[in-house]
């Protein structure tokens, strides 16, 4: 089925992207904090297969970079120095998800050569590496916040839909309130109540909680609707006739009817929440240096000098578009599937 194939392609792309971010240490040639003060705002390094003499080399290589204030970008290529790219080479040590460490990198270049595939920022830090490591923070924050939101939505939606009555009224009024408030204002206000300088992990967790707590109402409402209609189905009434408790009914018969909605909402909310984290960090309220997030990659883009001369700083932002497209596409397909399956 065409829809099925589309879903698998989309999910495949997302999985590949997330894996690349998870194994950032492997795919990134440098650490996110490694500064190269002599190469600030270096343009993306060109990879060559043919050298200046016109010889074809099997192993791709890069040329050395030289500071040159007369050049437009501030750098010129030093054709004299050739640095071949080593694949699956040993480099700086890194950790994967805090579980195991390794020093294997996909590609490396011998010092003092540098390979900035996406250019470097004001401190000479490799943008590609920062993008991959930053993704760990942003993606994790977004996904966890989405899970939190949907989790709260399940709890409240199930309560409101199942028990009905005044509980339903009160909870849904609360949901209305949350739905009505501007999220950025709310987020900033909540952030202001929290101490500005706390440990990184605490800020991270607080961010997730704040973002997740604000957005529970939409999934909550949808789940409430599904629970309401499932509750009246005859097979639920029949189970009641056998003496089933409310908890049993919820667990065994009612909540399984909401799985489709849960998945769809997760796929919809994840990109929104990733964006929320990015926005917060961009505004300076995120986890903070040295831990990069995609937001910290975008922050320099507000500077006039960067906007005018350093176009490669936009690349990370542009890469995000297909990622979000994949998420939304997956959510759309899931929603279509839901509609066709629902009875």
């Amino acid at each position: 089925m065409k829809r099925r194939r589309k879903l698998w392609i989309t999910l495949g792309f997302l999985a590949a992207f997330h894996l690349a971010v998870l194994f950032a240490g492997f795919f990134a040639p440098y650490n996110f904090a490694t500064q190269n003060r002599e190469f600030p705002f270096a343009p993306p390094t060109r990879v060559h297969f043919v050298d200046a003499q016109g010889n074809f080399r099997l192993r791709p290589f890069v040329y050395g970079l030289q500071n040159d204030s007369s050049a437009l970008s501030g750098f010129t290529t030093d054709f004299g120095r050739v640095y071949p790219i080593h694949f699956l080479a040993s480099g700086a040590r890194y950790e994967v998800a805090g579980i195991f460490s390794s020093s294997l990198h996909l590609f490396e270049v011998d010092s003092p050569g540098r390979i900035f595939l996406l250019g470097s920022d004001g401190y000479g830090r490799d943008q590609l590496s920062r993008f991959l490591y930053g993704g760990q923070l942003s993606l994790l924050a977004g996904l966890l916040a989405a899970a939190l939101s949907v989790g709260i939505g399940i709890a409240i939606g199930a309560l409101a839909g199942f028990y009905g009555g005044w509980i339903d009224d009160v909870l849904m009024r609360g949901a209305e309130l949350f739905l009505a408030l501007p999220w950025l204002y709310l987020l900033l206000a909540v952030r202001s109540a929290l101490p500005l300088h706390v440990s990184e992990w605490q800020v991270f967790l607080l961010l997730i909680c704040a973002i997740g707590l604000i957005g529970w109402s939409r999934p909550g409402r949808l789940i409430r609707g599904a629970v309401l209609s499932a509750k009246e189905r005859n097979f639920v009434v029949a189970a009641r006739g056998f003496g089933a408790s409310n908890l049993f009914l919820l667990r065994r018969h009612v909540l399984p009817q909401t799985y489709g909605i849960i998945l769809t909402q997760l796929a919809l909310l994840a990109p929104q929440y990733i964006l929320a984290e990015v926005t917060l960090t961009f505004l300076g309220l995120g986890v903070g240096e040295p831990m990069p997030s995609w937001g910290s990659l975008f922050a320099p883009l507000q500077q006039y000098a960067v906007l005018v001369s350093d176009w490669w700083m936009f690349i990370p932002a542009v890469i995000l578009v297909p990622v979000f497209l994949a998420y939304y596409s997956a959510a759309d397909t899931l929603q279509e599937r839901l509609k066709s399956v629902a009875l």
Binding site: F235, A239, G241, H253
Partner: protein, 286 residues
């Protein structure tokens, strides 16, 4: 094919299995802004006696309250007033724990088997569910009982892992019956359970039910709108009209000499249908 119990005369002396006294159920519809209230009397004082081991049919037009009565007796809905006396105890006055135990004894089969079975579960899981809920037996014992029940209703054990959607309508109703039987209830209420089936299925399920009654002495209450078919297999017929039982008699007596006006209407309609059928047969059209 008959379902009349073997010692019909002897039952006259025994205590009724189920007695319903003055059962009433009101539905209040709130108008907007809680001003206008609309009260619907689904049940308006139902009195009914059902003897153990018999087959009683409750007949009535749509809206007469038949389904509401069935649900109240099966303890799926709370009546507004009245008593439901089962084996001498008022079901509406039981404690939660007693109520939980009593549920084994009274079961309801719904009209539409498809909606009554959770489409995500397999036949075996569905049939074993009452045992799980009532915490009867170990996992193996439950599986064995489920298989036994499946065989009894005529479903091959090989399809125990299939989902409801993979069965035909008649088979789904059999699954529902197997599920109800697994608790060994004393009273089985069938709420228009045969209406959605074709004649062949109806006949085979009726004979299955008759077999079970002979073997275990289950009491049946059939809710139906079809007086004609019900008169062929029920011991007694109770006629329901606007929330009340207006007449309850042995089937043959009722058909021969009905007292209440509504019963006479139903009988008249039945006879009209019969005479039309006879005419058509005579003309060779059937």
């Amino acid at each position: 094919m008959t379902m009349k119990s073997p010692d019909a005369e002897a039952d006259n002396r025994s205590e009724p299995l189920l007695e319903v006294r003055d059962l009433s159920k009101e539905y209040i519809q709130r108008g907007r802004l809680s001003r206008a209230k609309n009260t619907v009397n689904a049940l308006a004082g139902v009195n009914l006696k059902i003897r153990r081991g018999s087959t009683v049919a409750i007949v009535g037009a749509s809206g007469s309250g038949k389904s509401t009565l069935a649900r109240c007796v099966a303890l799926l809905e709370q009546p507004t007033r009245g008593e439901i006396i089962f084996e001498g105890r008022d079901l509406l006055a039981l404690s939660t724990r007693e109520l939980f135990r009593i549920r084994r004894c009274i079961q309801l089969i719904f009209q539409d088997p498809t909606s009554a079975l959770d489409p995500r579960l397999s036949a075996a899981e569905l049939i074993a569910e009452p045992l799980v809920i009532q915490r009867i037996g170990t996992k193996e014992e439950r599986q064995a009982k489920a298989r036994e029940a499946m065989e009894r209703v005529g479903l091959p054990a090989s399809c125990e892992n299939k989902r409801p959607l993979e069965f035909s309508g008649g088979q789904r109703q059999r699954i529902a019956i197997a599920r109800a039987l697994v608790l060994e209830p004393a009273l089985l209420i069938l709420d228009e359970a045969l209406s959605s089936l074709d004649l062949a299925n109806q006949e085979s399920i009726l004979s299955l039910l008759s077999e079970l009654q002979g073997a275990c002495g289950i009491t049946y209450v059939h809710i139906s709108h079809d007086l004609r078919s019900v008169s062929e297999f029920a011991d007694e017929i109770a006629v329901m009209h606007t929330g009340r039982i207006v007449e309850q008699k042995r089937a043959a007596e009722l058909v021969a000499s009905a007292e209440h006006a509504h019963t006479q209407e139903l009988l008249a309609a039945m006879r009209t249908v019969e005479s039309i059928c006879a005419e058509r047969r005579a003309k060779g059209l059937v």
